[in-house]
């Protein structure tokens, strides 16, 4: 089996690495880069816990080959903070009480960020559609919707 050489941006930093072809993007993020914020919940793209942004759009990293990240821009939950400050979504999740056990939250935040990248001022319906691929077993979702709504109304840093 061939090893593959990759070059991609991860949370704004240019990265190069060589990996076997059969590893997933999730595996590379967690095991090679030690970014443990991105979680695995099902291993088949059905829970959303492993969601990261690829070129600004949410994707489930457990069903993407690492190879596919080559020459792309990947962002994980660790990339959301800037200068030691929470971004507006993270802050809104705290303020609105959108966090309980927290396991789905990194993926949820990335789906929300992906939505705001494409649609900075989504309606409640659009927010709901935007996180339909992220299962949360704790919250009942409505506080998460409120948090995303709130973040979308805060101008300023993204």
């Amino acid at each position: 089996m061939k090893e593959i050489e990759l070059r991609f941006r991860l949370n704004g930093e240019e990265q190069r690495l060589t990996v076997p072809s059969n590893v997933t993007l999730l595996h590379v993020i967690r095991e090679h880069f030690g970014l443990m914020g991105t979680k695995e919940g099902c291993g088949e793209g059905e829970c959303g816990a492993c969601t990261v942004l690829m070129d600004g759009r949410p994707v489930t990293s457990c069903i993407i080959l690492a190879e596919e990240a080559d020459r792309h821009d990947i962002m994980t939950v660790e990339g959301l903070m800037k200068d030691g400050k929470l971004n507006r979504l993270q802050q809104a999740f705290l303020d609105e009480g959108a966090v309980q056990c927290g396991y789905c939250i990194p993926g949820m935040l990335m789906s929300a960020q992906g939505l705001l990248n494409e649609n900075p001022h989504p309606t409640s319906q659009e927010i709901r559609k935007g996180i339909e691929g992220n299962i949360c077993r704790c919250t009942g979702y409505n506080r998460i919707v409120n948090a995303i709504h709130k973040a979308s109304q805060d101008e300023g840093d993204s």
Binding site: S21, T24, G43, L65
Partner: protein, 297 residues
Amino acid sequence: MLPQFELYLPKSVEETSEILLTYNSNARIYAGGTDVLVQMAKGQSKPEALVDIKGLAELRGISYSAAKELSIGALTTHHELENSDLIKKKYAALHDGVSRVGSVQTRNRGTIGGNLCSALPSADSAAPLLALGAKVIINGSGGERELPLEKFYLGIKHTALEPGEILTKIVIPALARHNAQAYIKFSRRNAMDLALMGVAICYELDGLHVSKARIALTTAAPTPVRAYGAEAFLTGKALTEANLKEAGVLAAEEAKPRDSWRSGAEYRRGLIKVLLPRISRLALERMGKARSENERD
């Protein structure tokens, strides 16, 4: 953990075809990966090679020819289609279908070509494309050929692709100016679920009468299928409640849904009876709205 495989990143259709032929049937095309990787992770599929065709630029994009034929590259993602104004306005049935595939994340990766080539009875883009009269363009060492989508499906997970061939394009022929179209997906869960039943319709209208009807169903047979009997019944008729109801009954009769633990065949048949008139009414409403908007413009 995924099993081991060789990975290829071809740059042309010819190269792709060659690799596929080398591996006989032991290589799989890899596009969005949303089906292939899941099957591999579960041990249901153990290809010796994956052929990632995302480098084939000619398989991308949506274009509209002078003859008003719509051409969709096989690598076009569901998300691209969902976000296309053209699809939203002129091909509402397809828009309905692609926006109900999986989740946002799946739609960002999954391609329309992949959705068709996986050849699952529940493919949400397939029924709308059947209703829109789509053809598929297939390319391989033997050159290019064209098939009506109906002929592309041979069985569950089984397509008409010959060794070395890939699906490159989907073409939707011009539709009559007045057409009513929509797709409805009925699932137990309201998101991230497989269709228990899907009904797509496209009625081309001549005044009040149907000049051409195409009705297609997902999860109603081993492959997505047309409901020819119901189509024939509606052709030349007005879309009255009574006619739609009868069409629903006919479509339900000709469908061959499976009895499975996901749902009983009789229940699925019942859904067709209910959903066909329902989705037809929605399509007509849509068409009415579009017309009045056009008049305002």
